[in-house]
Amino acid sequence: MSIISNTNESAGGNLTARALREGIFAGIIALGLFVLFVGLETTQNIRNELVLNQRWGLLAVFVIVAAVGRFVTVAYIRPSMAARKAAASKAVAETEESFFKRNFSKIAIAALLIYPPLMVMLFGVQGSLKWVDNFGIQILIYVMLAWGLNIVVGLAGLLDLGYVAFYAVGAYSYALLSQQFGFSFWVLLPLAGILAAFWGMILGFPVLRLKGDYLAIVTLAFGEIIRLVLINWTEVTRGTFGVSGIPKASVFGIWSFDVSAPNNFAKVFGLPMSSAYYKIFLFYLILALALLTAYVTIRLRRMPIGRAWEALREDEIACRSLGINTVTTKLTAFSIGAMFGGFAGSFFAVRQGFVSPESFVFLESAIILAIVVLGGMGSLVGIAVAAVVMVGGTELLREMTFLKAIFGPEFTPELYRMLIFGLAMVVVMVWKPRGFVGSREPTAFLRERKAVSGSFTKEGHG
């Protein structure tokens, strides 16, 4: 033990000595380089004479920065980098994941559960609105949509560019049926899902003979058709004006969030009137819906149907040779994905209180698809992280008012949203071509569960 510590010490002593030496050398070189460039400056004085200014102080700063920088690099940064690299390789060898990594999803769910009360504590009831609504709910809607689309694109490998159509179907189902017939949210939520799934099937039947690019184009067209119908069928949808005054959801009919209702949540609990309670309720609602999506996806992956989806992504012809009816398999993927889109849509209508065709443009489909691809197709955790980064990041841009101080008062950072979004996508795709989580968890194992590297999985062609 003493020998080891001795060698360590002597190595450390050597290192410091070497760092000192190299630092001094760097200082001398910097002095030689900069003495004429920085130390002396030629300028004209008021009588147009050439004057030599001496700037020994600035030169000293340059030399000290070079010397100290070199010393720190050699003595501390390099060894620590090497140590980290060694530690990383050792960690790979041990394949012992940290506690945080192993329980990431549990920790994340716990954090989300305490998120609204935490925000209320930090920013007050009114101040928490922004954090719960703009960040929390907004991100969770996209997480849920991306998880729903993940079933179609990530698992079954069917490129769907019109996913927002099902979102629209869900939103309008709730908006119109609740206004026309006065059904409550809790009745219409499953109904919206069923209707969206139904539309998924209607789209699926003619389209699923197509593959790859052709499928993508037709789903894109389907998304546009739904939007154009919403715009032009004015008697029912009120066209571009949209449907407004959509009733709010209630806590299973026990407490209402309508201000005039006798069982208003704030009144019952004797709290000051605020819309924050409704938003917090919506936060938990979308959290529950998103977790339901994740739970169903995880369960389905271990069912024969889920395995058939993934097999379909890998090789459709092989699937057919094994007696799998690929048409019904694709249809189930489409309609289950669409169903979650419908759930998210009806939630969207409840949250906004207003829906119009403008909310369901192609860009939405593209963003959802981008989140799925960036997250790593098929990986729930990766997709959630991608949604936080992409949607949270763009929301965060709105908060960056300090940028106005740099770029002038007319600068509005949120206008650069799509630019940064695109840039981020390019960077992520170069750095991690398979998305944040490129590997895939096997659904069954004999001895040990080994993640399948992304280089073996396919993206699907149909």
Partner: protein
């Protein structure tokens, strides 16, 4: 040489009658008729472009034949007209499984998962088309455990049990071939169609493949139809050989018979059409001088 145990009793599992397949102006198969006996290993051989894979695709429903009838008769006596069924129905209902010339595994799924996907229809039924399975009914749990046992059985047979949890795309070529056969067997077929199972295998792997095919026939009672170029495999294990050239059958019989058939030799050695007669005469002369046992296959 494996004796054709069932060749005497005429009990064809597959009967191909007057099969023709036309691609535009090309007659890929022209009025082909042959039978595969139950419990036999039937080989389909012929030079490149003879239409072997086309026959396979017609039998397994990947092509719709232009003309002809393909009858598959199961052990229980139920008959299926394969030319009227789509590909996945042929595997699901008629119990005909196939492999591919260029291996088609689910490379991103593990070896075990590949075999579980093959048991899709059985598991779907057991899981009440997913609904009962989602609710956690015990029937599905039992079926899932059974399916893993079946997968284990075939992994052991194909000597892949050590690699069960690795991605299929990570396996070496020979192992991928064996896995594809094991996967086809997991569908519980009565008739197994193998498209060049020995292509790209080294001699040792070829031997292992022969063993696997023999044990499949012996233990599962599955009849096998195979396309093969590797004569060491064909002559070693097949009970019955059908030779195709230009979409037509030129010879049909036991390996010994086919081996000595002058038409087959001419087809393989590539003789001009007008020279065929001469070659046949020459061969007959040689055969006479060497006696009935003579005549080696090229």
């Amino acid at each position: 040489m494996a004796p054709g145990t069932n060749t005497m009793t005429n009990d064809p599992i597959l009967k191909v009658e007057h099969l023709s397949m036309r691609f535009g102006g090309l007659m890929a198969i022209n009025d082909l008729s042959f039978e595969a006996q139950r419990g036999d290993i039937t080989a389909l051989i012929g030079p490149n472009g003879a239409g072997k894979t086309t026959v396979f695709n017609c039998v397994t429903g990947f092509y719709k034949p232009t003309m002809g009838m393909i009858t598959m008769r199961q052990k229980a006596g139920k008959a299926f007209l394969l030319e009227r069924m789509t590909d996945f129905e042929i595997t699901r209902d008629a119990k005909v499984a196939r492999t591919f010339q260029n291996i088609r595994l689910f490379s991103g799924l593990t070896v075990l998962e590949n075999l579980l996907v093959a048991q899709h229809n059985m598991l779907m039924k057991a899981s009440g088309y997913t609904i009962l399975g989602l609710l956690g009914f015990p029937t599905y749990k039992k079926a899932a455990a059974e399916s893993i046992d079946i997968a284990k059985y075939w992994l052991e047979k194909a000597n892949l049990i050590e690699r069960a949890d690795d991605p299929a795309g990570d396996l070496p070529y020979g192992a991928q071939r064996r896995l594809e056969i094991a996967r086809a067997m997991c569908t519980g077929p009565e008739f197994l169609c193998l498209d060049e199972p020995a292509a790209g295998l080294n001699p040792r792997e070829s031997l292992a493949l022969n063993e696997l095919l023999r044990s499949i026939r012996k233990d599962s009672g599955t009849s096998i139809l195979l396309i093969e170029h590797d004569m060491s495999v064909v002559m070693e294990i097949s009970d019955h050989v059908v030779v195709l050239e230009y979409g037509q059958k030129i010879s049909d019989g036991t390996p010994d018979h086919v081996k000595n058939d002058p038409k087959v030799i001419a087809a393989y050695l590539g003789v001009e059409d007008d020279e065929v007669e001469e070659v046949i005469e020459e061969i007959e002369v040689i055969a006479e001088s060497e006696g009935p046992q003579g005549g080696t296959h090229s």
